[in-house]
Symmetry: C2
Amino acid sequence: MCQSVPMTLVQRAPVCVLGTGLIGGSLLRAAVAAGYEAFGYNRSDSGAEAARRDGFDVSGELPAVLRRAADTDALLVLAVPMPAVEHILAEIAAVAPRCPLTDVVSIKGPVADAVRKHSIEANYVGGHPMAGTAESGWAATDPELFRGAVWAVGVDEGTRVEPWTRVVRLALDCGSVVVPVVADEHDQAVARISHLPHVLAEALAAAGAAGGALSLGLAAGSFRDGTRVAGTAPDLVRAICEPNAAALGQVLDETIAALVTARDTLRADGSLGDVVEAGYRGRTAYNEHTRWEITGIVPGVGDWLGELHRAGRRGGVLRAL
Amino acid sequence: MCQSVPMTLVQRAPVCVLGTGLIGGSLLRAAVAAGYEAFGYNRSDSGAEAARRDGFDVSGELPAVLRRAADTDALLVLAVPMPAVEHILAEIAAVAPRCPLTDVVSIKGPVADAVRKHSIEANYVGGHPMAGTAESGWAATDPELFRGAVWAVGVDEGTRVEPWTRVVRLALDCGSVVVPVVADEHDQAVARISHLPHVLAEALAAAGAAGGALSLGLAAGSFRDGTRVAGTAPDLVRAICEPNAAALGQVLDETIAALVTARDTLRADGSLGDVVEAGYRGRTAYNEHTRWEITGIVPGVGDWLGELHRAGRRGGVLRAL
């Protein structure tokens, strides 16, 4: 029943990055820096050329890149925004359906659905490095982007050991720690800690600018930090947040209710009410949150997926294989 | 008609800081560093002792401190949270009613109202340095806190040249630039760029923590920056935001409406709607906002207050007297 495979045979197999923008391009740089044979595809000629000028092996010919991946049993890393996922998956299904496959897309449920639709789920493992900047494109790539970051890696039912191990090893080799997570819980969590921050930053930036030059001139640290991610390109924000509509809608419901209560108590009795203490408790919990290392779970042995899932939910991370 | 006074006579007159927490204590340090004779009062013995241990002249005896200020024509700087303002003003009215008076409280209208109530408005000039950290108390004080910051200084009708000049000079000597502003426009602006950021940070921190260890463990830059000011002590947040209830209530109305629209369009057609572009435009306007130097307005001459008011509203700052 044990699916475990000799680590030495897979740990440095090639990596093929599909989409070399901020995340994919940084991953390509990080993989090369960690000793992987790594190559990639980018849809825009200018992006691919920029990568080649920096000495990286990036092509604009998707079928050719995928054939090379199939020939070398490369780990495919899908690194395009959600709206472009479907097209790439169709090509993978046609050209390289047996390659191990992961992704770095900001949500997991819709990607997994799309992968199943193309019947290439057998070697798929969802991934999501929690890293980024407000910049985008090859020019913003950084091989150190993932160092010290958290990288969510799927432990959904049916996940196979061999692709899972390759994805975890790549994340660790890029300097991240790995949080094992199932797709729907991932998507609910990122609605709270990634997509809601984007929406609130947008609303805050709009409200500040509506005050004109005086407001912008008086703005200091709280406005600067609270609106930082509103500097992200609008199309990218939409591509990150909108595919998570169900979970994001639910946390927006919660947040709107909290703000309505604050406004109403402020009007009624001059008090912001519970939101101040709830927020302070929340930030304190964040400050005090500590990651503990998951140990003693052997991939492929027993209920390894369930054990990893429960450990990740309790704040556990993998620091080594 | 000209009220101007010889600058050399007033520029280094003593400064008396009432309240030596983060802002007042940092101001005391900055004033001493800039060559002022500066002394202060702090309500808590432990705070006053901490300042004395660091070599600063801070007492817990308010009447004695105010008598010394009156004897030396010191500039009084009211540096307590709004709930404590009333008590200090009553003592000033009793002991040192003719001293020039400013404040560093986060709102201006309610402070001005309280000053008028005690009939000591003749030498009052509102002030608000736009600087701070999530920390509080003497231990967090920093003489460099105001360097490069914006310091709002009142140009309300009836403002007199001599106290106004002393307040501006102090702000400049602390390394800040000065934005001339009238009270109600100040309070509307800070509702947008200081108080709303606090409330949104609290709501975001609460929403993130509601997701438990998985959410907090996956949280990265957008959550960290968006919740930074939620780490501020709840009593201090209330003291900063709640006295500005009218203006804050209005921007909360705007923000709630924007979030409701975003949620509703997300549910209806999977789009966040206009908030993304509006936020991007707002943050871009903030990034591109440049301060221009106000020159050629002589305090006390002609409609100097009106000219400064209009210049401040258009993004002008004073960098020198």
